[in-house]
């Protein structure tokens, strides 16, 4: 009898424990996030996650800082291959095709059941959704998204007799302004360049600004066809090469991405193209009056979008997927995304965020924050294909070869198109 009773107690105890484990595991979430800009980004994500968990005791979300974008996708894919993926992750929007190809993510459509959910999914800027949808399904929800803008040094503009409040509006004006802004010392060495379009690491992104302005799209929305050798792409690359060569308004060779804001602060360049993600950095560190404007236009206005989306991973329970969905819905809501935008400079991904009082107060105090939003109207999807990293590497190599003068723009791009065709032929 005693034995049986003890056995019973043990049984009940273990059943209780099992129950606890079951309820706990149903809503235990692991959430990977990358940090690509300095400072407060990681703290802000952690604080937002903690706030959500505090208000929703049913969901236990563990936010894991996973390094750069590159490291995050590597970690997430390695974990998925090992059978233990995170349930939720922020990964570059351009990695969508890779994640689909690896069969590790699920579309959000199946999780959006109520009309409210569906309305939420269509509440984002269309420019950001281009990189988040394929084949009629939505695989990513925009979160830390950016777009490149033009920063200019108002003091330098005044010094050479340009209107300090007017940035160049066209390609020709950028060259014209640039020529005025180039400053040389007694030895004829340039001490200040007119403009700086960084080209190290991932030159394709800013170059995509030029191609869009020249009215050409680099890849189709199925992600299996590129147009690298289009004459308009060649023309855009020729313009970029000419900025350093023929026009002499930009430093020659590959220009380092990371050192660009510093070069701007040091007065080494009067204008720079870089991400809106640097807005807070420039605001805090530029020792002079600066302006923020849209990229100059050519045949049309244009810029790529960039940055990261939320993805929900496949290898998780339905409860986890639902909890992940609810969390994403909450963190991209107007109030939360306003906090996120103010802390980092990323573009708030939906119009109603800009209508919140928090955001209105911020933009009233700092109007340059609105430039990126206004530019979204002209923005297109960032270059993204199947085998994305390989295809963009091929493209980057071609751009670098042309910028350093190893190949002509036409030759370099024709070769890149050939290689991209070879890589993508299995996906057509």
């Amino acid at each position: 009898m005693g034995v049986i009773k003890r056995f019973d107690t043990a049984l009940i105890a273990s059943a209780v424990m099992l129950g606890q484990i079951a309820t706990a595991s149903a809503v235990d979430l692991e959430f990977y996030f990358p940090v690509a800009v300095g400072g407060k980004a990681a703290d802000t994500i952690q604080a937002l996650t903690d706030e959500y968990v505090g208000n929703n005791p049913g969901a236990d979300i563990k936010a894991v800082y996973a390094g750069s974008y590159q490291e995050t996708v590597t970690k997430a894919l390695t974990a998925a291959r090992g059978g233990k993926p995170p349930q939720l992750s922020v990964i570059l929007s351009v990695d969508m095709f890779t994640l689909i190809d690896e069969d590790v993510i699920i579309p959000f459509d199946g999780l959006a059941q109520t009309d409210e959910d569906k309305a939420w999914m269509s509440s984002f800027y269309p420019a950001f959704m281009e990189n988040s949808q394929t084949g009629g399904k939505t695989y990513g929800i925009p979160f830390q998204r950016s777009t490149p803008v033009l920063y200019w040094n108002k003091d330098a503009f005044k010094e050479v007799g340009l209107d300090p409040d007017t940035p160049p509006a066209t390609w020709d004006e950028m060259v014209e302004f640039g020529k005025k802004l180039v400053k040389k010392d007694a030895n004829g060495n340039v001490t200040r360049w007119g403009v700086r379009i960084p080209s190290s690491g991932f030159p394709y992104w800013l170059f995509q600004g030029l191609t869009t302005q020249n009215d050409v799209i680099l890849a189709n929305s199925d992600g299996n066809q590129t147009s690298f050798d289009d004459p308009r792409v060649v023309e855009a690359l020729q313009y970029l090469v000419d900025l350093s060569g023929k026009y002499g308004v930009m430093a020659p060779g590959i220009i380092e991405w990371g050192a660009t804001p510093k070069a701007f602060f040091e007065g080494q360049t009067a204008m720079m193209w870089t991400t809106t993600g640097n807005l807070t950095n420039v605001r805090e560190n530029a020792p002079f009056d600066f302006g923020v404007g849209m990229l100059p236009a050519h045949k049309r206005r244009g810029a790529p979008t960039g940055g990261g989306n939320f993805y929900i991973f496949k290898d998780s329970s339905p409860e986890q997927q639902q909890a992940a969905f609810d969390f994403v819905k909450w963190i991209t809501a107007p109030e939360q995304s306003a906090k996120w935008t103010i802390a980092t400079g990323y573009v708030a991904p939906r119009p109603d965020t800009w209508e919140t009082d928090t955001m209105k107060a911020y933009t009233a105090d700092f109007p340059p924050a609105l430039v990126a939003r206004d530019q979204l109207e002209f923005a297109v999807a960032e270059l993204s294909t199947y085998e994305n990293q390989r295809v963009t590497t091929v493209f980057n190599d071609a751009l670098e070869a042309a910028i350093t003068g190893a190949k002509t723009p036409a030759d370099a791009l024709a070769e890149a198109q050939q290689q991209a065709d070879a890589i993508l032929k299995d996906y057509r």
Binding site: Q70, D101, S199, A398
Partner: protein, 292 residues
């Protein structure tokens, strides 16, 4: 019986190390060789046997040949100079000069720093316009700014300088230890016989340093294939693969492009290269080495 017990003990003592060697070196190496004959698995398509296809692809891959030749020049640039510099520095800090502890410490400091940190320091040196090199060039000599990392003709040389700076101090320590183990009586005997300093160095010290030279040069060869951390920080292999090395390309192929099958193939090539070089060095030097 006693013999048998010694045998069992021997294996027992060896087993922990062996276990780790097999689990973390031999098994992965073997697995890599097998993977190199399979296609890369993708979500819905498992890996399938494709024979030597990856190897054929490799022979036709221009980037592979580019990184291989880069690696050759990187090795040719770093190995002799860093060893020569290490020997010079060791001879110098071994002599009775004032403040030699400070000099030893200064020479050894780069070794202690992580390569990532070193790369960031050198990034500052190389930055065009306001980096250290350009400030000196512009400030003292009135020369124009120079973009060492942004030019395919200079980028590899710039990376070689970083590697030499990092390595020479490390090799110096080995030479210093070897120099201190040379008995002073040899020096005295040479003085009595009237041998000059250079003659003494060439005929007595250098031969006695040969075992160290072998050790150092094997390490230098391995390092010339292994040191890639600075590439991530400084150039990402660019411009147009001008500063990419074999190991960096393997990383890119495996974890950026996710072509794990092809990455395994490249790894096999690297394993073969390193083994051949190490074995070759042992045979080449063996005849010239006098172990005390």
């Amino acid at each position: 019986m006693l013999h048998r017990r010694a045998w069992v003990y021997g294996w027992l003592f060896l087993s922990p190390a062996l276990l780790f060697l097999f689990a973390f070196t031999h098994y992965p190496a073997l697995n890599t060789i097998i993977s190199s004959f399979f296609s890369t698995p993708r979500g819905r398509r498992p890996a399938k046997f494709i024979g030597p296809e990856n190897y054929q692809e490799m022979l036709q891959d221009p980037v592979f040949w580019k990184v291989l030749s880069n690696n050759f020049w990187f090795a040719a640039g770093t190995i002799p100079i860093s060893i020569g510099l290490a020997l010079l520095m060791a001879l110098w800090v071994n002599s009775h000069l004032r403040g030699r502890t400070l000099a030893r410490m200064a020479f050894f400091a780069p070794t202690v720093l992580p390569l990532i940190a070193v790369a960031n320091i050198w990034m500052f040196f190389y930055t065009p316009g306001f980096g250290l090199i350009d400030q000196i060039r512009g400030g003292l000599f009135g020369l124009p700014a120079i973009n060492l990392l942004g030019n395919p003709d200079t980028v590899l040389a710039a990376m070689i300088v970083v590697a030499i700076w990092k390595e020479a101090g490390f090799f110096m320590i080995f030479y210093l230890a070897a120099l201190q183990s040379i008995p002073p009586v040899l020096r005295e005997a040479a003085d009595v016989e009237g041998a000059g300093r250079f003659y003494f160095f060439r005929r007595v010290m250098l031969p006695l340093l040969m075992p160290t030279t072998l050790f150092v040069s094997v390490n230098a060869v391995i390092n010339s294939f292994r040191l890639v951390d600075h590439i991530f920080v400084m150039t990402d292999g660019g411009p147009n693969n001008a500063s990419s090395l074999l190991l960096f390309y393997i990383y890119e192929t495996a974890f950026k492009f996710w072509q794990t099958g092809y990455a395994a193939t490249l790894t096999v090539v690297m394993l073969i290269l390193l083994s051949v070089l190490a074995i070759g060095q042992f045979f080449l030097f063996d005849r010239k080495i006098h172990y005390q």
